[in-house]
Subunit: 339 residues, 4 copies
Amino acid sequence: MNRQEPLGIAVIGTGRMGADHVRRIDRVISGARVTAVVDLDAERAETVAAGVDGCTAHTDPAAAMAAADVDAVLIASPGPAHEAALLTAFEHDLPVLCEKPLTPDAASALRVVEAEQALGHRRVQVGFMRRYDAEYVRLKALLESGQLGRPLMLHNRHRNVASPPFFTSSMLISDSVAHEVDATRWLLGHEITAVTVLRPTPSAGAPDGLRDPQFVVLETDGGALSDVEIFVNCGFGYQVQAEAVCERGTARIGDGHDLVTHMAGRWGGTIAQDWAERFAQAYDDEVQAWVDTTRRGEVTGPSTWDGYAAAAVCEAGVRSLEEGGRVAVELAEKPPLYR
Amino acid sequence: MNRQEPLGIAVIGTGRMGADHVRRIDRVISGARVTAVVDLDAERAETVAAGVDGCTAHTDPAAAMAAADVDAVLIASPGPAHEAALLTAFEHDLPVLCEKPLTPDAASALRVVEAEQALGHRRVQVGFMRRYDAEYVRLKALLESGQLGRPLMLHNRHRNVASPPFFTSSMLISDSVAHEVDATRWLLGHEITAVTVLRPTPSAGAPDGLRDPQFVVLETDGGALSDVEIFVNCGFGYQVQAEAVCERGTARIGDGHDLVTHMAGRWGGTIAQDWAERFAQAYDDEVQAWVDTTRRGEVTGPSTWDGYAAAAVCEAGVRSLEEGGRVAVELAEKPPLYR
Amino acid sequence: MNRQEPLGIAVIGTGRMGADHVRRIDRVISGARVTAVVDLDAERAETVAAGVDGCTAHTDPAAAMAAADVDAVLIASPGPAHEAALLTAFEHDLPVLCEKPLTPDAASALRVVEAEQALGHRRVQVGFMRRYDAEYVRLKALLESGQLGRPLMLHNRHRNVASPPFFTSSMLISDSVAHEVDATRWLLGHEITAVTVLRPTPSAGAPDGLRDPQFVVLETDGGALSDVEIFVNCGFGYQVQAEAVCERGTARIGDGHDLVTHMAGRWGGTIAQDWAERFAQAYDDEVQAWVDTTRRGEVTGPSTWDGYAAAAVCEAGVRSLEEGGRVAVELAEKPPLYR
Amino acid sequence: MNRQEPLGIAVIGTGRMGADHVRRIDRVISGARVTAVVDLDAERAETVAAGVDGCTAHTDPAAAMAAADVDAVLIASPGPAHEAALLTAFEHDLPVLCEKPLTPDAASALRVVEAEQALGHRRVQVGFMRRYDAEYVRLKALLESGQLGRPLMLHNRHRNVASPPFFTSSMLISDSVAHEVDATRWLLGHEITAVTVLRPTPSAGAPDGLRDPQFVVLETDGGALSDVEIFVNCGFGYQVQAEAVCERGTARIGDGHDLVTHMAGRWGGTIAQDWAERFAQAYDDEVQAWVDTTRRGEVTGPSTWDGYAAAAVCEAGVRSLEEGGRVAVELAEKPPLYR
């Protein structure tokens, strides 16, 4: 598929994230266009399609994927719908960019791993977009340069202004810490072997019954520790910070600010309020990278296996949250396709 | 020109800057494509054109602008060639993105202003790309919000690792400080009324005979001062910093860094080495903004008048550098087109 | 003892810390003088005494404390010698500034608590000098102001360039983390109820057999968590950092730097190499505060109880380090004297 | 005067600064005591003396200096009274710490220089306390190390929350910029050869008629430039910042902050409101250094010549402020005593 004409993409799901990807492909990304959108809500699909030249609306993913002008699929529907959409895409042998989580639990994620293995080649890039964030990319490059020696610990902070109404205590692990799970695996190049979730007294700012904040300790097969503060009702801003502590030094990202003011006895800057603001460039780069590799007939980026591993770790994390104590992570054997 | 098909652009000049714009339009920018490139060096034009699908190579700007698939012109040739290219574009009534300087001196810049006025509508966006840099944009928005009160002073730092071999003492003003001239006018909304260039002992790191660094004081018709340290052989990095001192506080940009390390008794981060690294996003946004407004049939952004005003101020600055002391800036009356 | 003449102090122990206190009282602190020094090594005591006008040398603490010109005692001998020196001081009813640890284990610390109770008034200020550090003092004041809401978590970093040859894995807890144990209790106003020590793979920079770094999680009776990275062979500097995460915001100390350089592609500053450099002002203020309150006949600052509580927590920490898992902390009932 | 008993000091002037020095010597500084205070306001002198053990009150400086227990003099009276007090101290051959300015103008300062020369040895340390500030000391040490190469420019910021009612436009130069005049001479080791004072439109926050802010450019005999923003009604805090731009890098002081908070969408810290807060340690160290050298019979620190040079530069600055344009500085020949 080394082609001149733009890549035709079917976007499955037109909620906040799906609609944002449609906008991105239509306006920001070069070399691709949205040829189909899919949503169970037919009206919403029609509205989104109407704004894009040459785009059709569907309620059934299979119908969209069968269309002649669909060369690739971007899955942005809710997690429980991912498995079916992925398997349909495999039937058409279409490349897929699948928003995280790959699927909601480790068992279903492993089924997708097995199905992709049966195809015999990688078709899925999972939406762990921190791997495309300029700061994470610099941190990863620094760690790989060996300048700081071997990483020993990773301290992570993940803070949101407020959680949406449907958010549960387990979702702090499976929805939020999932990013740090992948970032830990990717930055350190280790698998995670055990998870402990600690529960300080909830903040008065958290909705009743929500265990927020939580403090998560991940142990890796390389002997490193990665701790994560997750605090989804911190009230003051959206912050993602990471500090890698290595044998000869540390490196920290997430403090970067571009405008500093001095007034009224205080100096400082503003804090992003939202992931869409903080990671705008990473989302653009992620989709652009996928469009470019897809047009060259390649699949790179976070794999189905990465999605499965995150699901398995989060599942252990939720057990630690609910039952207390340390929970070991058990992973299936890694298929050759992902080595 | 409210159109679905991509905007066809002729790029005049295929040196470092021109070739970079060709790459940007081809790969980064959506909604536009390069349909023609022009260079006096026919071989270089051919090489660049060969890398872009459906792009023709020319040695004569007029021939390129006459082509049916050319809807707009991006001028990235050396400054002395700009006037002729602009006037040719005016003959075809084509929208133009013209790299700074508009032209090399105030007299020729004023001729372009007059020619555009004769057309009766704006056709030119000048390449003052700092107006598209995320940090400058935030600083401008903060100043306009009135939170800090009226701006009284602007302190600017502009540092390059090393100057190219052909760089002269006047080029520190007309090529480098030109950016701060426009930034001062744009951020403060004032015209510049006088320039004083001070010459400390040159650095041992500067080539023989080059007056580097220089310290420039700009006075404005709003009673503000803007000082500029220009140091093009600072040796250690590329830095562009600005601090606006206002009645109720100050705001500073250019210290922002995204990765901080602690090792070997030192903490800190790296410094960009180059404008292409520091302002990559601003160039992308600048060209994208131009493509988008052009497709809607509009012209926004820095105008021909802005290019002329910068030329006039720099000309006064070069006189202050050469003759010493304060030199008043004389501007023609501002035509209604630019109000 | 509301007096004009300087306070006469016997300094017990003339090693690095004791000699530094002698210098401080002699040269920095107003209102006090060193009238006696004590060391098992008679020669070292003589040498130190010779440098101070009117100072006598002793090998027996009891003899020094019996001297007419000794009004107060500063204990800076090794931890195992503290209990005897404290009990002797109690016999003479002398005010004591006792370097941390109060004593090496919880049982002996509790005996000192009981002896002071028997006296019926506080006589001991324990050398937890972070309570006098300007940054900690500001953090404490901010937390008490209520601006940030209730503290939920405290993230601590404690890094040394290299550990001395005699340092053992348990000493990372009992000697180093002891500071964070007290800082956690003091900043949050909570008692610590459980300790978990995690052991990542040791750094290649740590001496053979030393478990360095360690990661310690403290749970408090106020439902807060306090995590401590202790890394005594980090190689790059001495760093003490703390971030309090509260219901409405966070506050961080320990990043403060006073000289920032930009050169050779890097920006940043230097990192202190040593606690004596980082906390010089805190030590001065600590001793001055003690001299001043002593002259007014008062005892304030960290109490014997604070020393005991730290000993008990560290003892639990060492057990967690050695046996793995979470170890609950059991404290005796708090005597009325310390309420 | 290599002595054990504390140095007896007469403090001339008991206003805010004098009273603060009395407190400092009494409570902070070791090795010295206040034996006499002098003030034209007899009642104020009595009140201050009453708070210090063994201290007498005077209205005549000569009477105080004649007292047997006065070994040294600290002059903190208003500037116009300095010359007479200094000459009286010279008659008694007493060491003097004289608050800046040495005297209010260059002619009187030169008379003091000549009188000290006639004595044949240095007796005066001028109160340029920035030379004792930890940050300035580190900057000076870095410049002298040669790491950054030769200094080319010095950018200074000097901001006060609000000016006192009696402050005039010239006092921004002679009272405030005087510190940067000395700092420039001391940091660079150059004499200042010309001064230009620029006057942007005054801030709405400045009292009617006060030219605030001002922007001052100092030229040195080493070919360096030093620019100073002086803004005494900035409203938001007390800030003293300096950036030395050298051949191989830059170094900046004055951004140092020890407590950073994140809350309500903003990160940052507080700004000192006052020189007494910002430079407390420098004042302590200054007086301690003077006490220590005085007791050893030495005179070090800023000399009478430094005081004279500052007076001459400020006088030129005030002329530039009033008459506009660049004013050359004329210095007398430097006597051998100060070389």
